[in-house]
């Protein structure tokens, strides 16, 4: 851990890593989910390679974007599935804890947990004055048939009370085969409930998108949230004062990103948000330590930085998913 310069607060989001930059993909995710909700789809899945920014999009932006689109509070619950479950008790307990019910801990039978979950979801729907409860399951690529069926029980219970449980799964590429698998193994009704539609979560796919993202560091970010300065201004106030902006370095960074693609890469170009964020953070730290603007925003510098974070290896690993 390096020692920070005096003017950099140790609580800054760039230092702690607790921040999210709004990207066009985040907006597209909210639009897609909004469309599905409009169509009253009871279940669909979103897939995309890892490190593309799906989870951050869900955890940091989805609720407010949906509320903006649908108007008013939305009963949005997120469950990050930790592992595969062998019993309904384990499954419901994990779901129960995941949706942050206050009394989820302790020894409770699966049936009781089912009732508690139903009441919790119904209350959240009533509090938001809607009849649709949104459940996002992250890391859903490993969901087993049994788990889908247990989830179906909950959906049916809510359906009896006149409420809809819309389950949107977020997964990597494996999810693409799940629908066929369920259909061929005698559970087409499960697929028809939870895997009705699908959508590919995009990465950073163009230079314009990259410039939009970098502008988030330049201008659209604030710390502290009220009355603060942008991330770039906090780390490099002098450069910021000289009207230097990261968005201006988007072409050089884009060239570096493209240069690091595998030589046999075919198909669309899409880059992970995580690596872009890590590269920008490195640049901000270098600027804070007094590096020259031109030295850290050149194509070579971007290549060095991205190589440090093993972008090329990652792109090779996820090439099949893109």
């Amino acid at each position: 851990m390096r020692r920070l310069p005096d003017h950099i607060s140790s609580e800054h989001p760039i230092v702690t890593g607790r921040y999210a930059i709004f990207t066009p993909a985040v907006a597209a995710l909210a639009d897609t989910l909004g469309d599905w909700l409009d169509k009253k789809i009871t279940g669909a899945y979103i897939y995309g390679p890892s490190r593309w920014g799906k989870t951050r999009a869900v955890q940091w932006y989805l609720k407010s974007l949906l509320e903006e689109r649908l108007g008013g509070d939305q009963p949005l619950h997120i469950w990050i599935r930790p592992l595969t479950f062998n019993t309904p008790g384990e499954f419901y307990k994990s779901l129960h804890v995941g949706v942050t019910h206050q009394f989820s801990k302790g020894r409770i039978s699966p049936n009781d947990r089912l009732i508690m979950l139903r009441e919790f979801f119904l209350a959240s729907a009533d509090n938001c004055r809607t009849t649709t409860v949104i459940l996002i399951i992250d890391e859903a690529q490993g969901m087993t048939t049994k788990e889908w069926i247990w989830l179906l029980s909950l959906q049916n219970l809510m359906d009896q009370q006149g409420y809809v449980l819309s389950v949107f799964s977020i997964a990597s590429h494996q999810m693409a085969y799940e629908f066929d698998f369920l259909t061929r193994t005698g559970n087409p009704h499960v697929g028809a409930r939870f895997l009705v539609d699908q959508w590919r979560f995009p990465g950073v796919e163009s230079e314009d998108e990259l410039a939009f993202i970098l502008d988030g560091y330049d201008e659209q970010s604030r710390w502290p949230a009220s009355g603060g300065v942008s991330y770039l201004e906090h780390f490099a106030p002098a450069d910021f004062g000289h009207q230097k902006r990261l968005a201006g370095a988007a072409p050089s960074m884009w060239r570096a990103l493209v240069a690091l693609l595998p030589s046999d890469h075919e198909g669309r170009i899409s880059f992970p948000m995580k690596h872009i964020a890590l590269a920008v953070e490195d640049v901000l730290f270098q600027l804070a330590f007094g590096a020259a603007w031109e030295d850290v925003t050149s194509v070579e510098a971007w290549v060095d930085t991205l190589t440090t974070h093993r972008l090329a290896d990652h792109m090779r690993a996820v090439a099949l998913d893109i």
């Binding site: 609720k63 509070d73 019910h101 206050q102 988030g216 659209q220």
Partner: protein, 620 residues
């Protein structure tokens, strides 16, 4: 859309299954907690930790009181939880539990067990108002209120405890009382709210006339209402009394005023159901209270207070006046930061046991009632604890609360206590002492100044005498209220209401008892005995019925080494008295009987016979 440094916490939604806005007006705190329990199904320790805000004590996690009592934080349901965590409106809890009612109502107007209307419960509603003693039927449904669980038949408790998982019951079983649908969203009923609001309005009105609100920690108890003229208050009280009050006039009540309904007042105030006679109409309740008592046998040491009153008539009135007087004293001193009354009971006696003891003695009951009344005002608050701690000059509190009563293990007594002292009531000895109270009771001028100017009495406390004393208040022949200190070696209580039987009745009862005893002894004398004959053997002697005659007296035949036999002595009838034998002595424990000319000789003979009997028994 900007970058975010803080994630949008999904926890913005409540972490409980709860819909704000469904706590209806006048719903009891218990029914709200019950609904919460049904919907969320917590395990009981978690429920206590969240709803009672008690995350420490394992002991207290076994049960919680269904009322939110200011002095019992952590042991009862916390209204703040519903307001802060569940976003309920605090006004919805205005009449949710006993401590929200005026002080006088809190003390004696509620039944010990919660009263429940099953129809209301099936609609997800229950009110603390139902537990008022007047009601035996639901004011809305005209259905009889129940005090026992309809499933298990056990009495309802004033505490929730877990009998089975997911059932915080106030009975002995797993009764959930209402369906899940009703727990979610109990329906609104405007007619019920209107009816209950009438009752509440009447309660507040009655309280403003008959009771005083003491400044309290609760935001809606911050008004101090002055005393009102009692007779005026009573007439208003009756006129504004709603139809639903089922008045029960006591059979021995004698009312000159046709619309006078003192029983209601009595039930508010009267702890021991002892009625004190007041000779004339009370006109100046504002100043003090008045009681009548035969004081001819009391040795009066001091009269501290004399208050004029006039035009008394023959009403029977409860302790209202004494309470008023004592309460006013307490309030003035409480507000003047000079509190002198402490409820002091022995630590190893339960509240129920104490109550049963005091109820057996009318006079102790009166003292107890006054103390109880005092405690009902300010002593229920934590502030009183802290004040008392400071008053004693102690840093750490050594006393604790249990069952709503303050208890303290404390040797020396240097603060003022009120009540009585009697040999037979050792439990109250050195714990109830009125000496200091009388020393500090304000003078007439001070009282008037307090009442008119709302000022406080400034008086140096000084050293207080702490002799074991009794005190009482009575109405003198000059129509003045008097508080006296009585010092006697043997306490003799005068009965205020002549409940004791007259001397004639007592004599008749004693005579009856004596006759019964004599008959019993006669029967024992004529029972068959054995005699030690001249041939040195025991002989049976059967028919002795002629011996039953005259008065029989009993005594003991001392046999040495602490042993004795009981025997009785009777005079022989004249026709049987021969050879100078006038007395017959019969051992009640052995089948022995002797005749003698004198009782002394008879005792010697009986003793010899008893020894012979013992020897023969040991041989055999």
């Amino acid at each position: 859309m900007t970058a975010r440094a803080n994630p949008l916490r999904l926890g913005q939604l409540p972490a409980y299954a709860w819909r704000p806005g469904y706590v209806h007006k006048y719903a009891s705190l218990w029914v709200t907690a019950l609904r919460f329990f049904i919907l969320n199904r917590p395990d009981f320790p978690s429920f206590v930790a969240d709803v009672c805000k008690n995350r420490h004590s394992f002991e207290l996690q076994k049960y919680i009181y269904i009322d939110a009592l200011p002095g019992l934080v952590g042991k009862c349901i916390n209204v703040d939880f519903f307001v802060e965590s569940l976003r309920e409106n605090r006004d919805s809890f205005r009449w949710a539990n006993l401590s929200d009612f005026p002080l006088g109502f809190q003390l004696n107007m509620f039944s010990e067990r919660p009263a429940i209307c099953l129809t209301c419960m099936s609609h997800g509603f229950h009110s603390a108002i139902y537990s008022l003693k007047w009601f035996d039927k639901c004011p809305l449904h005209e259905e009889r209120l129940i005090y026992v669980c309809p499933i298990c038949g056990k009495s309802l408790k004033s505490a929730m405890r877990v009998k089975q998982k997911f059932a915080a019951s106030i009975c002995n079983c797993n009764n959930q009382w209402m369906s899940m649908e009703m727990a979610r969203c109990p329906p609104e009923k405007p007619d019920r709210d209107n009816l209950l609001s009438d009752i509440v309005k009447w309660i507040e009105d009655a309280a403003s006339k008959c009771w005083i609100y003491i400044p309290y920690s609760r935001e809606y108890d911050n008004s101090v209402v002055g005393y009102r003229h009692l007779s005026l208050g009573l007439s208003e009280f009756n006129e504004s009394m709603p139809a639903w009050v089922d008045m029960k006039v006591p059979p021995d009540a004698q009312f000159t005023a046709p619309r006078y309904r003192p029983f209601l007042i009595g039930s508010i105030l009267d702890f021991s159901s002892v009625v004190i006679k007041v000779r004339d109409r009370v006109k100046r309740v504002f100043d003090s209270g008045f009681v009548f008592e035969n004081i001819s046998r009391l040795k009066i040491k001091r009269c501290s207070v004399e208050v004029d009153f006039e035009d008394l008539t023959g009403y029977k009135i409860s302790f209202f006046f004494i309470f008023k007087s004592m309460l006013r004293y307490a309030i003035k001193h409480l507000l003047g930061k000079r509190v002198h009354l402490i409820h002091w009971v022995e630590c190893n006696q339960s509240a129920r046991l104490l109550k049963s003891k005091v109820q057996s003695n009318e006079y102790v009951a009166i003292a107890w009632a006054i103390l109880h009344w005092m405690r009902a005002s300010i002593w229920r608050t934590i502030a009183a604890d802290r004040w008392f701690q400071g008053f004693l000059g102690e840093e750490e509190s050594k006393y604790y609360t249990l069952g709503g009563y303050y208890r303290r293990i404390y040797g020396a007594q240097r603060v003022i206590l009120a009540g009585a002292k009697e040999k037979s009531e050792l439990w109250i000895e050195n714990r109830v002492n009125a000496a200091s109270l009388l020393d500090l009771f304000p003078t007439q001028e001070d009282l008037q100044r307090c009442c008119t100017d709302q000022g406080f009495i400034e008086e140096s406390r000084g050293t207080l005498p702490r002799a074991p004393l009794e005190w009482w208040a009575w109405c003198g022949a000059d129509h003045r209220l008097r508080l006296a200190v009585m010092q006697r070696r043997s306490v003799f209580w005068h009965r205020v209401a002549s409940r004791a039987p007259s001397k004639t009745v007592r004599t008749a009862e004693a005579e009856k008892k004596h006759v019964s005893r004599q008959l019993d002894l006669h029967k024992q004398i004529v029972a068959p005995v054995i005699e030690f004959g001249s041939d040195a053997s025991w002989q049976y002697r059967g028919d002795l019925s002629d011996l039953a005659h005259g008065t029989v007296s009993c005594s003991r035949l001392v046999m040495g080494n602490g042993n004795y036999y009981r025997f009785c002595v009777a005079e022989l009838p004249r026709n049987l008295a021969a050879q100078g034998e006038r007395w017959v002595l019969r051992c009640l424990d052995l089948p022995l009987l002797v005749f003698s000319s004198t009782t002394r000789e008879g005792v010697i003979r009986l003793k010899q016979a008893a020894r012979l009997y013992q020897k023969s028994c040991s041989r055999s």
